[in-house]
């Protein structure tokens, strides 16, 4: 167990700059998830920590040791690969013992460690099987066992569940979460799936184009996204965005106007913006209420999805071509083709400036 500190970390491949000035602190025993769209550099960042890629610039510390130039085996990290990468010619036991034997451990110690790891992961029955005789979930557990057997200070996971089918993925997600509760070890986990990130993480790191977009707990990221990108990435179905104009802004609140909506009085501090500035309004589907249309401001319902416990209602937007989504518990009284008015839940409306940064809520800033 150890903490990990990244300071101004950079990675370049030739002329492409993959990781740009990343600062991050992963606390002892924390479960941190790197999430972002493909090509955002999340896997590269993990490989930099693992030691599979060299660091171009900056400093990487595990506990208090600078490990920039240490090979993986001396960093005390274990890694679970996306394809599991089990040694196909070795049994489960040999797979887990391989690293221990290379570390020149005594046979009894190797045996002890492997058996202990196998017990934790319920692999005892499978120790003499080859990888090809195992199911996907079992291979996944062996891959974790191999990474854990060396008792690394940090466990790294590179999209470990993306090769599993949906139901198994949920099950393994649970197992990994429970494993973390039990072992309490520091884990860093890479995924492109925001559900995995939300359910597993103590702390989510959202990456975009090699930069950290926001770091925070799942709740923070969901309730107070710092940028429009984070707001759109976290949460499913995704947040609704509408263009808006600032009518008046003060320190303790502002008034905005969005096409198709009544003027809104919002708690955000928009004193930094000039009147008439272009803003983006963000409302999560569950915070967008529908009402009977009255007058001009009406939206047409173009699709209704019934999911059993809840209903998604899709509305034709006034601008852009992304449909607006309203989400409510089933049953819903809204029907296809109906024209309705939108009533956003004012306390849960997000405002983003022209550079897509979120505007702070006035009271929140005063409290802080």
């Amino acid at each position: 167990m150890a903490s990990v500190t990244l300071e101004k970390l950079n990675k370049t491949f030739g002329s492409t700059h993959i990781i740009k000035d990343v600062d991050l602190k992963v606390g002892n025993g924390e479960f941190v998830v790197f999430v972002g769209p493909s090509g955002c550099g999340k896997s590269t960042l993990l490989r930099l920590i693992a030691g599979l890629e060299s660091i171009s610039d900056g400093e990487l510390r595990i506990a208090d040791d600078v490990v920039n130039d240490l090979p993986p085996r001396e960093r005390g990290v274990g890694m679970v690969f996306q394809s599991y990468a089990l040694y196909p010619h070795m049994t489960v036991y040999e797979n887990m013992a391989f690293g221990l034997k290379l570390a020149k451990m005594a046979n009894e110690t190797v045996d002890e460690r492997v058996m202990a790891t196998a017990r934790i992961l319920q692999l005892e029955e499978l120790l003499h099987r080859k990888p090809k005789e195992l199911s996907g979930g079992q291979r996944q557990r062996v891959a974790m066992g191999r990474a854990m057997a060396r008792e690394p200070r940090i466990l790294l996971f590179d999209e470990p569940l993306s090769n599993l089918d949906a139901s198994l993925r949920v099950q393994m997600r649970n197992e990994i979460a429970r494993l973390h509760h039990r072992l309490g070890s520091t884990m860093i986990y890479v995924t492109h799936d925001q559900v995995e990130a939300m359910t597993l993480a103590d702390k989510i790191v959202v990456l975009r184009d090699g930069r950290i977009e926001q770091v925070g707990s799942p709740q923070t990221l969901y309730q107070q996204p710092a940028t429009r990108f984070v707001a759109g990435f976290i949460g499913s179905p995704t947040m609704n965005f509408m263009p808006a104009k600032l009518l008046s802004g003060a320190v303790d609140g502002c008034r905005v106007q969005a096409p198709g909506l009544d003027d809104l009085a919002l708690p955000q501090d928009a004193s930094g913006e000039s009147t008439g500035a272009d803003l983006t309004l963000g409302v999560r589907p569950e915070h967008l209420r529908l009402a009977e249309a009255q007058g001009e401001n009406a939206f047409e319902i173009v699709n209704v999805e019934y999911l059993g416990n809840e209903v998604y209602v899709y509305l034709e937007p006034k601008a852009g071509d992304t449909l607006l989504i309203h989400r409510s518990e089933a049953p819903s009284r809204w029907e296809l083709g109906q024209r309705v008015a939108l009533v956003p839940d004012l306390e849960h409306v997000h405002l983003f400036d022209a550079r897509d940064r979120a505007l702070d809520i006035a009271t929140r800033r005063q409290a802080a």
Partner: protein, 280 residues
């Protein structure tokens, strides 16, 4: 029987006839060699398709010749050495060429391929000087050297292609486990590369075992010769007699090890050992 069944039957008959033709075409020369080798010398020129009497005289004759036994021994030494050296160099080279990124990797691959395109005769005189210069003339080591030159390009190419197909994450997993490149090659890659190694090793063995031109040029005395040359130099009682019996017996003798080797390794060659390495 209706028309459809008739066509089906005709197709079947045609298929097996074709197979029979191919089989006869491929096997008949060898079969005739076997029969000839088992005939007493008096019956040699009587055309027989079936064996009437079995006579091991020819075999006794060649195996009592000391030089022939010695030649078999030389051939075994030379061929096994070539296979061993070619595989050792091939595996290590293929790791470098297949796994390590460096400038000029493609150039190296093309040069290696280019070398293998020269006909043997083109390099014969040059190689002769090299071998004399190294003091390896009339020495099996000279043959090992020259055969390896011609075997390596093929070995390296096949093994490199195979090495490239092994998943990258497998090597990275080994690195995370603390393996050095050498350990990765020997403990992780080697066990997975058996099929490729069996194929290339076998072909290297066959090439070295059957090679004639270099063997004839680079050796002088009977006790340094390999089997193909020894067979060619088997002489009869007089200048006008070609001793077909002993020649056929010798040919059959040297072909048998190859047939056995192919039979042993054919399963290895076919089986894909990487099954289960990554998701499946």
């Amino acid at each position: 029987m209706n028309q459809y069944q008739l066509i089906k039957l005709a197709k079947r008959v045609g298929f097996y006839t074709l197979i029979a033709v191919v089989m006869v075409y491929a096997i008949f020369p060898f079969y005739y060699a076997v029969i000839t080798s088992l005939k007493p010398s008096g019956d040699l020129f009587r055309v027989d398709f079936w064996l009437s009497t079995v006579d091991f005289g020819n075999y006794v004759q060649i195996f009592t010749q000391k030089s022939f036994v010695r030649a078999i021994f030389n051939s075994i030494i030379v061929s096994l050495s070539v296979v061993f050296i070619a595989l050792l160099l091939g595996i290590t080279a293929s790791y470098a060429l297949g796994r390590v990124r460096f400038r000029g990797r493609t150039t190296v691959m093309l040069v290696i391929l280019g070398v293998s395109m020269f006909p043997q005769v083109a390099v014969l005189s040059g190689l002769f000087e090299v071998i004399r210069g190294l003091g390896l003339y009339n020495n099996p080591a000279g043959l090992i050297l020259s055969y390896t030159i011609f075997t390596l390009p093929f070995t390296v190419w096949v093994l490199t292609t195979f090495m490239k197909q092994l998943p990258m994450e497998l090597e990275e997993a080994a690195i995370m486990d603390g393996a050095t490149p050498w350990v990765t090659i020997t403990k992780v890659f080697l066990p997975l590369m058996w099929p490729a190694m069996a194929t290339t090793g076998l072909l290297a063995f066959i090439a070295a075992w059957n090679e004639f031109l270099f063997a004839l040029t680079f050796t002088l005395t009977d006790d340094q010769r390999t089997v193909p040359v020894a067979i060619a130099l088997i002489s009869g009682g007089s200048q006008h007699e070609l001793p077909w019996g002993p020649i056929m017996a010798a040919s059959v003798t040297v072909t048998v090890p190859l047939v056995i080797l192919v039979m042993i390794f054919q399963k290895r060659i076919v089986s894909g050992l990487t099954a289960g390495a990554v998701k499946g």
